[in-house]
């Protein structure tokens, strides 16, 4: 089973890398950009009996390691 985990910074957490990207896009004359926030994607191929089992294992992985819940949110997307 394949899953995609998207990790983003929580609202209110300063994102200097997002700011730098925003500045670079601005320098390239892209207009209308209000805000840029960057995060990361982790793709995991996992053996699981079903979606519920996979989600529960992946949630534990996010809580224990993949995300730092002090500053980050995570979303789990089971892809097949």
């Amino acid at each position: 089973m394949k899953a995609r985990i998207t990790i983003t910074l929580k609202a209110g957490v300063l994102d200097p890398q997002g700011k730098a990207i925003e500045g670079a896009l601005d320098a390239l004359d892209f207009s209308g950009i209000n805000k840029v926030r960057q995060g990361k994607i982790i793709d995991i191929d996992i053996d699981a009996a079903g979606e519920t089992e996979a989600t529960s294992a992946l949630t534990e992985m996010c809580e224990k390691l993949l995300a730092n819940t002090v500053i980050e949110n995570y979303a789990i997307d089971i892809r097949d």
């Binding site: 957490v13 300063l14 200097p16 890398q17 224990k64 390691l65 993949l66 730092n68 002090v70 500053i71």
Partner: protein, 213 residues
């Protein structure tokens, strides 16, 4: 760090490998910096889940004194032993230079040899030293006098230009609620020899030594 501890205490520290599962009975556990653990995923994230950490948690709960410098501070926050997180420096650059710190709390095991509000020089060398925590935790740290060190200018004033990395409230080091754990980004162990440019960092080691039988 090991050299500094030996120089000040006269005792050779016991080295513990991250794969070990038992930390021996000691007065102080130091988690040094230096990127020796790798910063994959997030700074200190993988190291904070290494086998030795469960013994470290037991020691922390038993009240053993624990010092984390630089990467060691990042590991302690990732392990949840200190609140908050250390994020990418606000200016995005790796910073390697000397800063000034004000010693805010002089009652702790780690800082008691300094005079209140002493301003010291200290080297920093990090990419992820931007201390972040939510407003409630920040207030608690301030109210409970748990900010050990703050980035200041040479006159001891807190301002934006004396903040090298964007840390909330210019925080450079914090204590846990029990006062037996200190995490700090600057490297006092690198400024304890006059031949190396000064001895401002000695205060940390003198403080800790007062308590060693």
């Amino acid at each position: 760090m090991a050299t500094a501890l030996e120089m000040v205490s006269g005792v050779k520290p016991v080295m513990v490998w991250h794969q070990e599962t038992e930390i021996p009975d000691v007065d102080l556990i130091a988690i040094p910096g230096g990127f020796s653990y790798g910063d994959y995923l997030r700074a200190g994230a993988i190291a904070a889940r290494s086998p030795v950490m469960s013994s470290l948690r037991d020691k922390a709960a038993a009240g053993v004194n624990i010092l984390g410098v630089c990467n060691g501070f990042q590991i302690l926050t990732e392990a949840g032993l200190l609140p908050g997180a250390l994020m990418r420096n606000a200016g995005l650059h790796f910073i390697c230079r000397e800063v000034h710190l004000r010693v805010e709390n002089t009652n702790s095991y780690f800082t008691r040899s300094w005079a209140k509000n002493a301003v010291i020089r200290c080297p920093i060398a990090h990419h992820d030293g931007n201390y972040f925590t939510d407003p409630d935790t920040l207030k608690k740290l301030e109210d409970q006098d748990r900010v050990a060190f703050r980035y200041v200018n040479e006159n001891g004033n807190v301002n934006d230009t004396s903040n090298p990395n964007g840390s909330r409230n210019n925080i450079a080091g914090i204590l846990n609620d029990r006062g037996n754990i200190l995490g700090m980004m600057p490297h006092p162990e690198n400024l304890i020899e006059s031949l190396h440019g000064g001895t401002d960092g000695l205060g940390l080691f003198k403080s800790m030594l007062e308590n060693v039988a």
